[in-house]
Structure formats: structure tokens, C-alpha cells
């Protein structure tokens, strides 16, 4: 019996280690995607792609809107483009583009080729505002309520699936 106790030691250490790894994973799962959820939109003042003058977060108060981060260089933005277009044309909410780390000529050509789904397009060529939003990469989308609070965030492309099951239900709760 005593012998078995000794040979059990490695297993005991391993179980402890495994528990630690597992708990730590859960901890990460909850916190990584959502530090900004429930918080106000970071303050910004950005120029627009096609209009003159700059806009701030204050200009969007009063109705729910979706901020969609994209760039003409990003293949997954191409992939989500039809979904963004559908969502914008459904008229359920205002879709605002954040043209990120791009160049005007490329962004303009991209929109001319595929169509412009956006109500407004903000321009962040240096990427400073995207950093405030905690953007990992394009595309990413933020659902923001009428009071300027971030309600939900989608990392990666919008799909018919996550629009149906995440964006629209959250939007319905806001109304």
C-alpha cells in the first residue's frame, strides 16, 4: 500500500496542474473578448471617407448602431461584405464603417466594385482609434446602443449565423 502511495505522487501533481490549466482557461474565456462590453464607446474624433468634417461618438447618440471595422486589404471583409450589405439594407439599424489602416484610392475602388453598404464611413488610417476599441484585426464589429454603450462585439467576420443569433436578438432587447 505504501508503495502505491509513492507511485501516486506523479499523478497527483499532474491532476493539480491540469486543474490549474483548466481554471485558468475559463478565466481567460470570460475576460478576453469583452473588456469593453457595457462600457461607453471610447471617445474619438475621426474624418469621413466621402464627406467633409469630422465626427465624434456624440454624433451617433439617439439610435442603436453597428460599427464595422474593415479594410480593402482584408479578404475576410470581402467575405462578410454581402452580410453587411443585407444587414444595412434591412434597415434595422445604422451600419457605420471604420475604414482601418487603408488608403483612400484602394478603399474607394473596393466600395465602387462591391457597393457601399455603410451609412457613414469613418477613417482611421493610423489605427489609433482602433487601438482604443481593442481591435485585434479586421473585420470586427461592435453593437452600440442609443446611449453610446457597447452592447456586443463580434471578432472576425459577420455571418448570417451570428447576425441572426447574436446581433438581432441583442438589438431586439434594446428596442
Amino acid at each position: 500500500m505504501k508503495k502505491i502511495v509513492i507511485t501516486l505522487i506523479p499523478l497527483a501533481i499532474f491532476v493539480g496542474l491540469l486543474t490549474l490549466l483548466f481554471l485558468n482557461m475559463g478565466y481567460h474565456n470570460e475576460t478576453v473578448p469583452s473588456p469593453l462590453i457595457g462600457k461607453p464607446v471610447p471617445a474619438f474624433e475621426l474624418p469621413q471617407l466621402y464627406e467633409k468634417g469630422t465626427l465624434t461618438e456624440q454624433d451617433f447618440l439617439g439610435e442603436p448602431w453597428l460599427l464595422n471595422v474593415w479594410g480593402s486589404w482584408c479578404p475576410n471583409c470581402l467575405y462578410e461584405h454581402p452580410v453587411v450589405t443585407d444587414l444595412a439594407q434591412s434597415g434595422q439599424l445604422k451600419v457605420v464603417g471604420l475604414n482601418w489602416k487603408d488608403e483612400f484610392e484602394n478603399a474607394d475602388a473596393w466600395l465602387k466594385r462591391l457597393g457601399n453598404p455603410y451609412d457613414t464611413i469613418l477613417v482611421d488610417y493610423k489605427g489609433n482609434v482602433a487601438i482604443d476599441f481593442g481591435v485585434y484585426g479586421a473585420p470586427e464589429s461592435f453593437l452600440i446602443d442609443a446611449n453610446g454603450i457597447i452592447v456586443h462585439k463580434i471578432v472576425g467576420e459577420l455571418t448570417p449565423d451570428n447576425v441572426q443569433n447574436e446581433i438581432l436578438p441583442k438589438l431586439a432587447q434594446l428596442k
Binding site: K3, I4, T7, L8, P10, L11, F14, V15, L17, L18, L20, L21, F22, L23, N24, M25, Y27, H28, N29, V32, G71, W73, C74, P75, N76, L78, Y79, P82, K101
Partner: protein, 647 residues
């Protein structure tokens, strides 16, 4: 079409791996020759299907098939062909597929080169290896499928991460995988032995070769990783104690303990439980390393896509493989009792001490890697940096260097400790003198540098001395050991010099300005623009002179990859026998063309990697041991005779 074929081949592999797991083990349990005989053919077929699916992925990259998500995300029309091929394993999905491919290759090789094992032994080993393959094929299929398609098909891909567009990074992951997967053979042997409740010298001898090869690959992989970090990250460092680096270093440390203990347990009935346990630990650390890299549990300078589902999947695999093996160990290890007694004054004792030092080092590094996680779990953020690892490692490697010559001096079985120590006296005096000479030339040197150099000379003189005083002809085992130990010495000396006598300067330079660093004159002649295949670069020109004589012109680059919107620093390095001259560009400071320039002088850094290459060369030379071959041949004849009798 093609992606569908790749996918189909993977499903087929999954079924084959399941068959390989179940059938031979069932055969063993029921003592059915027929079922056990399925093991070897299944292993070969599994390799063919997995390899074919990997080839399909490479073809998809070569053909620029952007309908496959993984290809679209890691390739582009402008990516040169050589990187299109290597992009196949550049990112997560493909790299795990490569792991599975390498795993299948090893399983097939094990099936082929195992004539000295009886059918009941090899069928269990292959069954355990089949279970490992099964888990990883499932991981590819369900959590990281490289054949997933997208619609609409993008016109162009996103390009390969520029960090991975490089020779070192192309070779680094496959080599590590060969090492990781190679250690699974010793692991499978341990589990098979625990299942049967018996193990013998001949079985350990067989696994020793596989461990040596795996360890050699792992060493090469780590050297390449270190070399890549040195020239590609632009910081001039060669080891950062980063979690991802530690992930490859942990199995190496445990593997080093394992190959030294196997040297004892393949010769006599001793340290059996310990050999089995070390093999389990070494491979478990390989999976743990993969988990750390892929789960995003730990923040690292190496950024990989982190995905919680993938993390959980690998954690479950770890729980099944290591948890299962350790449970078996807990209840069966006592059946593997070692019967031979070990004399305290023998090489065996010293090899045991070596394994204890290396396993302590393993747990020290493991603790340092996981410590931030432990603290994070209770809500605090701390970081365990290089100082902790550096100090702990220094403390552990001193006893290693001190006892190494004693271990190779003492004979097997029984010797006279006092006489052995006396015989080492000349080496002690020689190494002391050499250290004093080095100190006089290079002073000031701090205590750590002196200790490292002293330890290096101690190992070097003793190993060379023992070489010339050996009785009789040198066997492959002895040559391998000596070469590897000279490698340890070379590494220790070179590492001490690189770490403590290097010069690092960040200087602001305008065109035409000359600065003196470490006895060399560096003249900055400005920066111009160049355009290459898929990037643009600002290229600086720095002329290096010594006493007015031009040694070289270095052209460090600041690259920009438009597709990935990513800047990269490409250092320019002048490689010399005794030192590297390393120049990299920082930032442009003003409109007049002034730049921040980093100039490093790294003494003996190449020798440090060369030491590592000597170590792995030693492990490979050891494979050609005539003694082991003789015994293997005898065993094979024995097994064949047995089989003939049975049929």
C-alpha cells in the same frame, strides 16, 4: 474538389487510427495472433493517407486555391513559390496537420524498424501510438480543419505572416515536431510496458535509439529557433525565456534526463520505474507545450491565434494521454521493480544524479512558466522574467558541470570514488589555469561569467583527457558521449562570453557620421528604398572599419509588407570567427535622414549554437553503437526463432 479529397483522406485516417488503436490491443488482450498482426500494415496505411492529405494541402497552396479559408488567410498572389509551399505549415491548422503527418511517419518507421520486438510488444506500442494519432487527427478534423472552404472565393489572399517568410521559421516547426513526436515512441513503450506489467533491458535498448533521434531533432529545432529570434526579431537576443520557447525547452530538459537514465536501464535491471516515468513526463511536456502555445493561456511575444475550444481539446488530450499513463504508473509501476542493486561508487549513481538535476531544472522552468498563471488565478498579474530563469538555471547547471567529468570517469557497476577524483586532478588544475588566462585577457568578468567559463573548461579538459587516456578502441557510444560533452563545454564557454562580454549600443546617426563601438568604426551612409517580391523596404548602409580598413558594409532593412500591414526589422549581421557584428535599424528620427541605429557586438555567439550542434551530433553517433547492434541482432534472431516455433 481537391479540398474535399483532403477532407476525405483525413476522415479515412481517423478511422485507420481508431482501428490501429483498438485491433492490436484487443489482439493482445485475447492473445490473438491474427489481430496483433494487423498492427504493422495498419501503421503503414495510416501513414499513406495522412501524408496524402498533407500533400493535398501543399498542392492547394501551390495552386493558390483561395476557396480554402486556410489558404486565403496565409497566402497571396504575390507570395513567392517557396513560401507558398512552406505556408502549408505556417499557421495553426496546417502545422497541426504537419504534426499528424510526422506522427504517422514515425509510427510507420516504428512498425518497420522493430524486428527485435516480439509481436505482443510491438502490437501494444503501435496501439498506444495509434491512440495518440487518433487524438491529433480528431483535433485537426474537429478543431482546426485546414480544408474548410469559404464562399464567395476571395480574389486574393491575406498573405503569410512576414515573420514566417524566412528559412529559420520554415525549418523550426517541423524539427520540433520530429522531436516531440519522436518522444512519443518512448512514451508508447512505457505505457505498453505498464499495460503488460513487464519490461526488460532489450526493450529499453530498442527505445533508446528513438529517444536519441528525437532528442537530436529537438536540439536542432531549439537551435534554429534561437538563431531565428536572434536575427529576425531585431533585438539581438538569442533566448528570451518566453513561454513559447520554454514549451520546446521543457521536453528537451526531460529528454536529456531520459537519455542518461536509459544508458543505465538498457544495461541492467535498474531504474526501470524511473525510466518509464521520465518517458511519460517528457512526452506529456510536449503536449503541454502545444497547449501553452495554442490555447492563449499565456501571453507571449510570439502571437498565435488563440482559441478556447482548441485549448480545451488539447487539454482533454493531455488528460487522456498523461492522466492515463500516470494512472497506469501509479498501480503498475511496482511490478517493474528493479532487481539489481546499484553501487554508490559507480557511473550509475552519477547518471541518476544527472537525471535528478535535469528533472529539477525541468520543474523550475515549468514553475516559472506557469507562475504567472497561478497568480492570475487569484487575481494578480505578475511576470516572471529572464532574471528568475537565468539565476535558477545558473544554480542548477553548476552542479551539472561539476559532476559531469566524474560521471564519465567512473566505470560502470563499481569503482573507486577516491581514485577517480584523484585522476581528475590534472583537469582541475588545467581548467583553473585556462580560466585565469581568460580572465586576464577579458577582465573584468563577473562571477557568473567566470563560473560558466570555469565549468566549460573543466568539462572540456576532462572530456579530452579521458578521450586520450581511454583503454582500447573508442566505441560509438564513447565517441558520441565525448562529442556531446565537448558540445556542453563549448556551449558553456560561448554562452558566458556572449552574455557577459557583449556590447549593445543604440546610437542616433545622421548620414556621414562615424561612431566607434568596441574597437570598430561604423559609418552610416544613409537609407534608401528598395522593392522586393512582396514587400518594400528602407535599407540602411553602414560601413564597418577596423583601423581604417573596410571590413564589410552592412545593409539592415526595415521592411513593410503591405498585405499584412506589418513592419519587420531585418538585421544585417557580419559573421566572424570570434564575434558577430550586428546592425539593425530603429526608427527614422527626423527629415534630414537621421536614424536610430542599434549596433551590437556579440562575442562567440556562433560557438554557442555550434556547441548545441555538437551535442546532437553526439546523440546521432551513439546510434551506431556496435554493442547495441550486436544485441539487437541477437534479439531479432531470437524473436524470429520464437515465431517460427509458434507457426
Amino acid at each position: 474538389m481537391l479540398p474535399g479529397i483532403g477532407q476525405f483522406l483525413l476522415v479515412l485516417s481517423l478511422l485507420l487510427a481508431a482501428a490501429l488503436t483498438v485491433l492490436p490491443m484487443l489482439g493482445y488482450a485475447r492473445n490473438s495472433q491474427t489481430l496483433m498482426q494487423t498492427a504493422r500494415p495498419l501503421a503503414h496505411v495510416l501513414f499513406i493517407t495522412v501524408m496524402a492529405s498533407f500533400v493535398v494541402l501543399v498542392v492547394l497552396f501551390v495552386q493558390q486555391d483561395f476557396s480554402v479559408l486556410y489558404v486565403a488567410e496565409n497566402s497571396s498572389l504575390e507570395l513567392p513559390l517557396r513560401y507558398r509551399i512552406t505556408a502549408a505549415w505556417g499557421a495553426h491548422e496546417g502545422s497541426i496537420l504537419m504534426w499528424v503527418t510526422v506522427q504517422a511517419l514515425w509510427i510507420s518507421a516504428v512498425a518497420k524498424f522493430s524486428q527485435s520486438l516480439s509481436l505482443s510488444q510491438i502490437s501494444r506500442v503501435l496501439s498506444v501510438l495509434g491512440l495518440i494519432a487518433l487524438g491529433f487527427v480528431a483535433f485537426v478534423l474537429f478543431a482546426s480543419n485546414p480544408f474548410e472552404t469559404i464562399f464567395p472565393v476571395p480574389a486574393d489572399g491575406r498573405d503569410l505572416n512576414p515573420l514566417l517568410q524566412d528559412f529559420g521559421m520554415i525549418m523550426h516547426p517541423p524539427l520540433l515536431y520530429f522531436g516531440y513526436v519522436g518522444l512519443s515512441v518512448a512514451f508508447a513503450l512505457s505505457v505498453a510496458a505498464l499495460i503488460g506489467g513487464e519490461i526488460n533491458e532489450q526493450w529499453i535498448r530498442w527505445s533508446r535509439r528513438w529517444t536519441n533521434i528525437a532528442w537530436a531533432f529537438l536540439t536542432m529545432g531549439i537551435i534554429l529557433g534561437s538563431w531565428w529570434a536572434y536575427y529576425e526579431l531585431g533585438w539581438g537576443g538569442w533566448w528570451f525565456w518566453d513561454p513559447v520557447e520554454n514549451a520546446s525547452f521543457l521536453p528537451w530538459l526531460a529528454g536529456t534526463a531520459l537519455i542518461h537514465v536509459q544508458a543505465v536501464s538498457e544495461r541492467k535491471n535498474a531504474f526501470r520505474g524511473w525510466t518509464v516515468l521520465l518517458a511519460i513526463i517528457a512526452f506529456s511536456l510536449c503536449i503541454l507545450g502545444t497547449f501553452l502555445v495554442r490555447s492563449g493561456s499565456i501571453t507571449s511575444v510570439h502571437s498565435f491565434a488563440a482559441d478556447p475550444f482548441r485549448g480545451i481539446f488539447i487539454l482533454v488530450l493531455l488528460a487522456i494521454y498523461s492522466g492515463g499513463a500516470l494512472t497506469l504508473y501509479a498501480f503498475r509501476a511496482n511490478q517493474l521493480r528493479s532487481r539489481d542493486t546499484i553501487n554508490l561508487n559507480s557511473r550509475e549513481t552519477l547518471l541518476l544524479a544527472n537525471s535528478l538535476i535535469f528533472i529539477t531544472a525541468t520543474f523550475t522552468v515549468l514553475l516559472g512558466t506557469l507562475f504567472p498563471m497561478i497568480f492570475e488565478a487569484v487575481g494578480k498579474k505578475i511576470s516572471v522574467g529572464a532574471p528568475y530563469f537565468g539565476l535558477m538555471f545558473f544554480v542548477l547547471m553548476i552542479p551539472m558541470a561539476v559532476i559531469l567529468p566524474l560521471g564519465s570517469q567512473l566505470r560502470w557497476h563499481r569503482d573507486d570514488m577516491l581514485a577517480a577524483v584523484k585522476q581528475l586532478l590534472p583537469y582541475f588544475i588545467a581548467s583553473t589555469l585556462l580560466t585565469v588566462v581568460v580572465w586576464l585577457i577579458f577582465k573584468p568578468l563577473n562571477i557568473r561569467a567566470i563560473a560558466g567559463i570555469y565549468g566549460g573548461f573543466w568539462v572540456l579538459t576532462a572530456t579530452l583527457g579521458q578521450w586520450f587516456k581511454r583503454p582500447g578502441r573508442a566505441t560509438a557510444g564513447f565517441i558520441g558521449m565525448s562529442v556531446a560533452h565537448v558540445g556542453v563545454a563549448v556551449f558553456l564557454i560561448a554562452m558566458s562570453m556572449t552574455e557577459h562580454k557583449d556590447i549593445e549600443q543604440d546610437i542616433l546617426m545622421s548620414p556621414g557620421i562615424t561612431k566607434q563601438v568596441g574597437g570598430y568604426d561604423f559609418t552610416f551612409t544613409g537609407v534608401d528604398r528598395v522593392k522586393q517580391e512582396n514587400y518594400q523596404a528602407q535599407q540602411g548602409h553602414v560601413e564597418v572599419r577596423r583601423d581604417g580598413r573596410l571590413i564589410t558594409t552592412l545593409n539592415p532593412q526595415k521592411r513593410f509588407y503591405p498585405k499584412q500591414q506589418m513592419p519587420m526589422t531585418e538585421a544585417a549581421i557580419y559573421v566572424g570567427w570570434s564575434k558577430d557584428i550586428y546592425v539593425s535599424l530603429g526608427e527614422a528620427v527626423n527629415q534630414e535622414g537621421a536614424w536610430a541605429v542599434r549596433i551590437y557586438i556579440k562575442p562567440m555567439i556562433r560557438w554557442m549554437w555550434f556547441g548545441g550542434i555538437l551535442m546532437l551530433t553526439g546523440a546521432i553517433i551513439g546510434l551506431f553503437s556496435a554493442r547495441i547492434k550486436r544485441q539487437e541482432d541477437k534479439q531479432r534472431d531470437h524473436v524470429m526463432a520464437q515465431q517460427l516455433k509458434l507457426s
